[in-house]
Symmetry: C2
Subunit: 393 residues, 2 copies
Amino acid sequence: MSISQKIKIATSSSSMIRKMFEEGAILKQKFGADKVYDFSLGNPNVDPPKDFEEELLKIAREVIPYKHGYMPNAGYPETRQAIATKINRTSGLNLSGDHIIMSCGAGGALNVILKALLDPEDEVILPVPFFMEYTPYVENYRGVVRRVKTRDDFSLNVAAMEAAVNEKTKALIINSPNNPTGKVYSKENIADLSLMLEKKSAELKRTIYLISDEPYREIVYDNVDVPNILAAYQNSIIAYSYSKTLSLPGERIGYIAVNPEIEETAELIGALILCTRISGFVNAPALMQRIVARLQDTTVEVDVYKRKRDLLCDGLAEAGYKFEKPQGAFYLFPRSPIPDDAAFVQMLLKKNILVVPGSAFGSPGYFRIAYCVDDATIINSLAGFAEAIKECR
Amino acid sequence: MSISQKIKIATSSSSMIRKMFEEGAILKQKFGADKVYDFSLGNPNVDPPKDFEEELLKIAREVIPYKHGYMPNAGYPETRQAIATKINRTSGLNLSGDHIIMSCGAGGALNVILKALLDPEDEVILPVPFFMEYTPYVENYRGVVRRVKTRDDFSLNVAAMEAAVNEKTKALIINSPNNPTGKVYSKENIADLSLMLEKKSAELKRTIYLISDEPYREIVYDNVDVPNILAAYQNSIIAYSYSKTLSLPGERIGYIAVNPEIEETAELIGALILCTRISGFVNAPALMQRIVARLQDTTVEVDVYKRKRDLLCDGLAEAGYKFEKPQGAFYLFPRSPIPDDAAFVQMLLKKNILVVPGSAFGSPGYFRIAYCVDDATIINSLAGFAEAIKECR
């Protein structure tokens, strides 16, 4: 009897991404970093916008009393107000600063939300494929994950989700633009989902929360529209992160936005603030809170990612890969040319290409390419991708 | 059925400190901030050291690839190495960077440690009085808190702690310099505790972890020595924060230090890293990690706090208050002149003085004064303190 049994088991079944990471490190040492094409991690290679660096310098020079001190657990009122104003401007909604709780990125936000919502054995529905961290996040609070496959084009299969709703369902987590598929759910798809949730909530006399994980909200291509969840469904909560919008995933800054029309608003907001405190987050990092307040209209250059997407999609299509062209985020989720995605990932590894098997996202038969890498990595990897698919024929 | 039942109950029993905070806000609006003596919160009023502000500016100017990106979940290797080196230099121990895991302050560190260690119903022993957040921290992971009173001088009552150890005991949390008492446990006191834990571990064939929460390690007076826990006991883990050492509690930066001799070292470190990730912390804020790496020998001016302690202690002693003079931290924990500490806190409130009842720390009959405030607040409050005790006679 020493460390937690549950954690002991979780630690020993080390994650597939981590495995890729370790194999990648060995390859890089052997062949040199520029000869290894590492698409395994969603760590943006694009620098933060110039405005960010300028604000950081400015704030570093400013004299502000209690500049790095505690603020209310929910965050600085000015920051929360700036975010509410931005959301209202782009959505026509009417949030106040009180509806915003600053968080340590979207990962922190999701944990705080799930802690505030879940009773033991409550079920959380996840459309598959999904970001694999959702499973431990739900299980942290003794919730149970229910997986529901998306359609072939990665849109939500609302009928299948409806069939999965029962008297234990507490919430759904959706993620659009999606990791790992790059899918953006359409307005119609979201409207169908909302209607279904309203119907089932009434039927079961139970609040069902829609949690929307939106770290990629601003990373979209070809003028695709990302529907606002708060406008679409009453009992909705957004988990947002500046990790990708401002390219600063290591700084751990994001927020929770609560629908002003949500049931028991004050009680829920109180619970979210309490959970921020007692989980040990206490508050989101102070300096980053100050900076993002001033950068509500700043994003990284999305065109850079679009160019990478096109380079990759064109190259892989030519080689014969099958995939849905991503509408956002910086992931491509092609079909594996052979059914065994783990085996195909090993074949790519022999070409010094690192990707993650679809099984890691609940979808065997696919693999994920994180294309937030420099253009040369994409261009120089294409020959290897082409050889690997040829070897499958 | 909407938000979590457990969290609903926790939210409604709003904390005493928060209550003081709200009453304080009303008073400040009514009388003006300078006429209200707010000793309720441990939010340091001392500015961060000049070196911190200089390093922040320097780093803000530096061009570093992936400067704000993800790093390994445990933190930057350079930062972890710098901390290990500092601990080794001051303790004669032999930690490597691998024994350090960067955290979101001590609150984040404690949550990660408890998540990694606790199985449901495991017991955690807390010497009373104690920082009240330990209770939710332990209960987050379904642990059970066992409270054991300290001696009258707030030193550890090792015999009483021994009586509390049983086959469910997984850990003890100690906090020295202590919040709320300012006590620093002596080398002898810690040696007795270690001996007892070794004896009980052998007897019960069970690992018992000693978790040392040390955010106030550098805030000590009169050359008092803070014994190193890692040198004293094998199965020990430190939760550290730069919140007080560098006066930046809002920035959420600290670390976990694992005893290199601890049982199952690699497994425990793996579990701590996993828990950092799946709890949603992911990693400690990147920029602050870079800064603290360069500031291992920098602390705020402790003499400033010493002056405040002396001002307060001299004034209160003259008024007839009974207390143990703090050896560290920035809290004073006097006896309430009447048994009902909540009632006495209300009497002080009528003098526009805000303090926290000892009941909030598990010790009715006391109250806590956080003296990390400007000197004027201390000086101008003394008349009110004197009047209040007079009214009790």
